[in-house]
């Protein structure tokens, strides 16, 4: 993939782009976008993939006025204008799914098919129970256990990473907290807007996902007209990472 930058609303964004064919906008999860992850090549083999790093993630800037997922949704709609993308298919993972959902409610006519992978962003459960477990109050190892089907295999050894890579990870973690802290992992208004979504929408979840539960995904999908659900076995919150083949297969079958 090639890496370029585009400036929107005085915010310089890092854009990864590769492949050819109908445009597919890919919105990364909290861990950021890594062009070398195996699922990326599986997608670019068939589609033109455009993957921006969200403001404050990767090397994208974070202006001081950005503090909400909604801000990013507006920036990406403008990015589509600037890149001449009248209509795109859309994949959003985790917080990227939340950004995607916000975009769909603002400009439903600009999206073809949409795949939301372990998305967060709505509150559907009771007041006294978090819909998404609080990742900020549990030991780091517990978060990994909820994240992955096979946490041991997914463990990262910081001593093998460069300082710049560790810095990007720390920055991603910081920006994620800024965006999801309160209300925790959701926009209370979003569920009242999702009926506007006009795209065929596929909700996807890793079977072992300890953060986005099956019940949460079903409740979320029920808010989107005509949405359907698929489950990927032996995967957690990031099925694109743990099961890249199965993930790409489902994506390409659905998007066409």
């Amino acid at each position: 993939m090639k890496r370029t930058t585009v400036t929107i609303a005085n915010c310089e964004l890092e854009i990864h782009e590769g492949g050819s064919g109908a445009p597919l906008l890919f919105l990364h999860p909290g861990a950021g976008f890594r062009a070398n992850d195996p699922y990326v090549a599986l997608l670019t083999a068939h589609r033109r993939v455009i993957a921006p790093s969200h403001p404050g993630f990767g090397t994208s800037q974070l202006p001081d006025w950005i503090d909400h997922v909604d801000d990013i949704a507006h920036i990406y709609l403008e990015l589509m204008d600037k890149m001449g993308l009248a209509k795109v298919d859309l994949i959003g993972c985790s917080i990227g799914g939340w950004i995607a959902a916000e975009m769909l409610t603002k400009a439903p006519e600009r999206f073809g098919k949409v795949m939301l992978v372990a998305p967060v962003g709505v509150k559907t459960g009771p007041t006294d129970k978090l819909d998404i477990p609080d990742i900020y109050v549990m030991p780091p190892a517990d978060v990994q256990a909820l994240m992955f089907h096979d946490p041991a295999k997914m463990a990262v050894d910081p001593s093998k990473l460069k300082d710049e890579e560790l810095a990007v990870m720390a920055r991603n973690r910081e920006t994620l907290a800024l965006l999801v802290w309160e209300p925790y992992m959701h926009n209370p208004k979003l569920r009242r807007r999702l009926h506007r979504v006009a795209s065929p929408t596929l909700f996807v979840r890793g079977e072992s996902d300890g953060l986005v539960s099956a019940a949460y995904l079903e409740a979320y999908a029920a808010l989107v007209p005509g949405a359907i659900i698929a489950t990927i076995p032996q995967a957690g919150h990031a099925p694109q990472i743990e099961q890249p083949q199965a993930f790409a297969q489902i994506a390409l079958d659905f998007l066409g």
Partner: protein, 423 residues
């Protein structure tokens, strides 16, 4: 030099530390016995009154969801002290501003306490330590920016007396600000800010507020003060920085004998050693800057955490965050630290912690007040200039080792450059 008696008002009667993952945030309150807790509060308030009788000033603070500090609402205890005491200055250090949703309310609380105490409030403000963000449900990102906007608004709220004004800022919105009562002191109570990083100290110095730093030893304290003094001068406040603009907090215990001092000092170490905090509470994302996060990934530890693995009175004294011994020894230790960092006008005395019982606490207060404090006041009057090193750079710190019959001096890890995560 002004000296301030400070207790964090801990509730120390806990089950063994192995049985809980964190003394902060998640420790169930079933472990707090209200009867024992009330007796402790009787005691802590009484110790502040005794400190006042001995000529010391008073300092208090707040923390949340923790047994290390049973005061989650310091302005309320400040109000009580305003009426229980008559002459001591009352320093609240401080209000955790980045976690308070309504700065105007904080301005009201401080103004009311100032009136209740007839103008004895010293209003301290802190960003809030990392383990407070969860109890406050406060976003750990951009806390510094929130802090400064809130503090500016508070000062404006205190000093506006001609009817309502409005504030439409980045983090806070408030219309019709017009607080009653106004503060007793004019223009407003002295403002203190605590930081433990040079970057934070520069901001405090530029604004000229009193800068306090906690347990930062020799090197780090000097860097913090240097940064404060440079920013003070750069802001056009004059070449000379009065020493009363700077404060240092240390664990302090004065005994009549070395043995007595050592026993008391050892109990004070509870403050450091009992602070068992789960990693997710100690380092929320965004609290420490990215560079510090990378350093932590590389294994760099906070010096106090390192210290707590092998704690000793001797190592604490060597590191400059504890002064303990006979009156002569303590005076020499403080003088050495004072000279090395360039001088400060306030000594914040962590004089009670954990299981240091009432009688021993009072003994420590009296020994300090009667046998050390007069010499400090004489040697380091308020008219002294901080950072007046002259042409001769200070020597590196010597060792002030307290001999103990408990055994030979242990070689605990030296605490040098405390920097890292700032408070």
């Amino acid at each position: 030099m002004q000296a301030w008696h400070f207790s964090e008002s801990a509730y120390p009667y806990l089950p063994p530390a192995e049985t809980y993952p964190s003394i902060r945030v998640s420790l169930p309150s079933k472990h707090f016995d209200p009867v024992k807790g009330a007796a402790l509060w009787d005691r802590y308030l009484e110790e502040w009154r005794i400190a006042e009788d001995e000529g010391l000033e008073i300092m208090l603070n707040e923390h949340h969801q923790t047994a290390t500090c049973a005061d989650p609402a310091a302005p309320m205890v400040l109000a009580a002290l305003a009426r229980l005491t008559t002459k001591a200055r009352l320093l609240i250090l401080g209000n955790p501003l980045a976690n308070r949703r309504q700065p105007v309310r904080v301005a009201e609380e401080m103004a009311l306490c100032d009136v209740l105490s007839h103008g004895r409030v010293e209003a301290g403000f802190v960003r809030g330590v990392p383990y407070e963000v969860s109890p406050a449900n406060s976003n750990p990102v951009r806390m510094g920016d929130r802090f400064w906007e809130a503090l500016d608004l508070i000062v404006k709220t205190w000093t506006s007396h001609d009817g309502p004004f409005s504030h439409e800022g980045r983090f806070f919105h408030h219309r019709n600000i017009n607080i009653w009562p106004r503060a007793y002191q004019n223009p407003h109570p002295p403002v203190w800010v605590s930081t433990t990083s040079p970057g934070g100290a520069a901001e405090v110095g530029a604004k000229g507020f009193v800068q306090a730093t906690f347990l930062t030893g020799f090197e780090a304290t000097r860097k913090i003060y240097e940064s404060y003094r440079a920013a003070w001068r750069k802001a056009g406040r004059g070449q000379d920085v009065p020493n009363h603009r700077l404060a240092y907090a240390a664990l302090i215990y004065v005994g009549e004998t070395e043995q007595e001092a050592h026993d008391g000092a050892e109990k004070l170490l509870w403050y450091v050693t009992a602070n068992k905090v789960a990693p997710q509470f100690a380092n929320p994302p965004g609290y420490a800057p990215v560079a510090a996060q990378v350093a932590m990934q590389r294994g760099v530890e906070h010096p106090l955490k390192q210290f707590s693995k092998n704690p000793s009175v001797e190592a604490a004294i060597r590191s400059g965050f504890m002064f303990a011994g006979t009156p002569d020894q303590v005076y020499e230790q403080i003088k050495r630290h004072y000279d090395y960092v360039g001088g400060y006008g306030h000594l914040l005395i962590m004089g009670q912690a954990g299981f240091l019982e009432h009688d021993d606490t009072v003994k420590g207060i009296r020994n300090f007040a009667r046998h050390v404090y007069p010499r400090l006041k004489e040697m380091f009057p308020k008219t002294k200039i901080s950072g007046d090193f002259g042409d001769v750079p200070p020597e590196p710190p010597e060792r002030f080792v307290l001999r103990s019959s408990h055994g030979v001096e242990t070689d605990g890890p030296l605490i040098s450059a405390l920097g890292g995560a700032s408070a």
